[in-house]
């Protein structure tokens, strides 16, 4: 049986936030008497993650995804509740715990700006107590997986964002961690760079059975990497489960565009009992429930003279967008 590697129970986090009124008067008032209030950004959440799982955290900006990741890797102390990651209390940041995890943030970098990435890799290797031979072996292996070579010897400031992100990944994985926390790793990357990064993460997960916790606003990252998603809405979990179940729940119907041989066929189809969205000459768009899609298509192909047929999936961003603004999903 696969064991839980992350165990979170009734976790809450509050921050003291100060607010300021606009204008000069507000600024002076804010300077002398700062008004702070405690804001609960994470509200009593519980979940478990199994070893080797890739879990996507979904939520609108400010929903609390990054705060959850930072509590999981031990950067922020929780206000209430308990977290166990790989058997450790993360916020104690014990050496063996830190050797097991890594955090990659798409908008922050740890590479030394003026030097080639290779220098940062060897620095990290010494911090993780790896000897030169082992470090060289791991750099070679990871650079092959990431498909980077010459870039390792070019100063970071001269690399493209995609090359830099690959180097960031290499620097963060040199100690072969078995839990990866990724906070928007594909932020700002072009389509090819995004695809390569996703390919690498899939491969890394397959080869090392590493657990991956990921936040991203690019739905392609989530759909191609995560079987399971945790949706966060205003600091609380609104959905925790399989991604495909969520998608089925959110879009139970598919749209099918059928091009008939003649307009007569289209009229016949229109009157055959299917839910019709629209009809233009010999082209007709109907809506079919996901569960009956195979049988319905069989009926259509057997009974009507069809020239062409297109199944339109609703745009994933549109579907997931519904999650970001809704509080609860019971699947």
């Amino acid at each position: 049986m696969v064991q839980n590697i992350i165990d979170v129970k009734n976790l809450s986090k509050s921050f003291d936030i100060s607010s300021k009124e606009p204008g000069l008067k507000g600024t002076i008032k804010h300077f002398f008497k700062r008004q702070t209030k405690s804001l609960k950004v994470i509200k009593d959440i519980s979940f478990e993650i199994k070893e080797g799982e890739i879990v996507g955290f979904l939520g609108a900006n400010g929903a609390g995804k990054t705060t959850i990741l930072k509590m999981l890797c031990g950067l922020i102390y929780p206000s209430e509740g308990s977290i166990l990651v790989s058997g450790y209390l993360p916020f104690r940041r014990k050496e063996n715990f830190l050797k097991n995890i890594t955090l990659i943030m798409g908008q922050k970098q740890q590479l030394i700006w003026d030097l080639p990435p290779i220098e940062s890799f060897y620095l990290n290797a010494s911090i993780y107590d790896l000897d030169k031979f082992e470090a060289k072996k791991r750099i070679k292996k990871l650079s092959e997986m990431l498909e980077i070579d010459e870039e390792l010897y070019i100063p970071v400031r001269k690399l493209s964002l995609g090359q830099r992100m690959k180097s960031e990944l290499l620097a963060a994985l040199i100690h072969e961690p078995n839990i990866l926390f990724l906070d928007e790793p594909t932020l700002g990357l072009d389509i090819n760079a995004q695809r390569n990064l996703r390919k690498f993460l899939q491969k890394y997960n397959k080869e090392t059975n590493a657990t991956i916790c990921l936040t991203s606003h690019y739905m392609k990252d989530i759909t191609s990497l995560c079987k399971r998603v945790i949706c966060v809405h205003e600091g609380a979990i609104s959905y925790d489960g399989k991604l495909d179940l969520l998608l089925k729940k959110l879009s139970p119907v598919k749209e099918i565009l059928i091009v008939c041989r003649s307009e007569e066929d289209a009229i016949k189809l229109e009157n055959s009992g299917f839910t019709v969205k629209n009809k233009i000459k010999n082209e007709i768009t109907i809506k079919i429930e996901n569960k009956s899609i195979t049988s319905s298509l069989k009926t259509i192909l057997n009974n009507f003279d069809i020239e062409d047929l297109f199944i339109n999936e609703p745009p994933i961003d549109e579907v997931i967008g519904k999650v970001l603004i809704k509080k609860d999903y019971d699947i």
């Binding site: 930072k70 890797c73 950067l75 102390y77 890594t102 955090l103 740890q110 620095l123 010494s126 911090i127």
Partner: protein, 264 residues
């Protein structure tokens, strides 16, 4: 603590830091010229103070030069290690890159205090030592073992006090986010360390001994060089340095509990 690992990491810090700095040759050259001009200017200023009256606070010009030498060494250490690293703490906290430091299996205080070096500060340290050797000659100081031990102890204590003060101020960034001004105030107080403590009024002497112990940083090591020091003062400097160092450590660990990381 695995000493071998820490030495290995420090060697890497030195290597990467030197390599980074050497990317900008002109900057290093400008820093070197600044260090030479700054020392010449300070000595000139000191000589003006001594022009009318041969003594300030009971110290001769040749004796006051020792304070200047120790100040130059300490300023060199400040520019080599404290300035590039401890001012970076503010940046780490404001931009949230402290996250990367805290997630490394290495002591975070060691990492943020020693990761960078500014090679041009080495010249200042060398100039300081050259001036110190010159002072030893003109003041006809006898170099024996007890003198060398005491000098080493008092200068080391001065470095610890200076580091702790600076680190303490930088740590408060975790709550206040911007503390550049406080560091600038500390740097301007350090300039005062170029003059003998006895040249100030009683109230200022108390202030610079108790509240901001600048007096301990330069005056006590200089008194050791001149054979003017008394045992209790050296002991007091050791105690002050130990208290400052321990508390800077405790304060850092305490402050980290309030670190909320920068938003993404």
């Amino acid at each position: 603590m695995n000493l071998r690992k820490y030495l290995k990491v420090y060697k890497k810090f030195l290597h990467t830091s030197l390599a980074s700095e050497l990317e900008y040759k002109t900057n290093i050259l400008v820093d070197l010229i600044t260090a030479i001009l700054s020392l010449v200017g300070s000595i000139f200023l000191l000589s003006i103070f001594f022009q009318n009256n041969g003594y300030i606070g009971g110290w001769k010009f040749e004796q006051a030069l020792i304070i200047q030498a120790i100040y130059t060494i300490l300023n060199g250490i400040t520019n080599t290690w404290f300035n590039p690293n401890l001012t970076e703490i503010v940046k780490h906290i404001r931009e949230g890159t402290l996250d990367f430091v805290l997630l490394k299996p290495i002591d975070s205080q060691f990492f943020i205090s020693l990761k960078k070096i500014n090679p041009s500060g080495f010249l200042e340290i060398m100039l300081g030592f050259l001036l110190l050797f010159f002072c030893i000659r003109i003041n006809q100081i006898n170099l024996n073992l007890s003198f060398l031990t005491l000098s080493f102890i008092t200068i080391s204590c001065s470095i610890c006090i200076l580091y702790s003060l600076w680190f303490f101020i930088s740590t408060t960034t975790i709550w206040f986010v911007k503390t550049w001004n406080a560091i600038e105030v500390l740097r301007s107080f350090l300039y005062i360390g170029r003059f003998p403590l006895s040249s100030f009024s009683f109230t200022l002497r108390i202030f610079f001994s108790v509240f901001i112990p600048i007096a301990f940083i330069t005056t006590i090591p200089s008194e050791v060089f001149l054979g003017l020091s008394v045992f209790w003062k050296i002991l007091l400097e050791i105690i002050v340095a130990t208290i400052f160092l321990i508390n800077s450590r405790k304060f850092w660990l305490f402050a980290l509990k309030f670190y909320s990381s920068a938003s993404s």
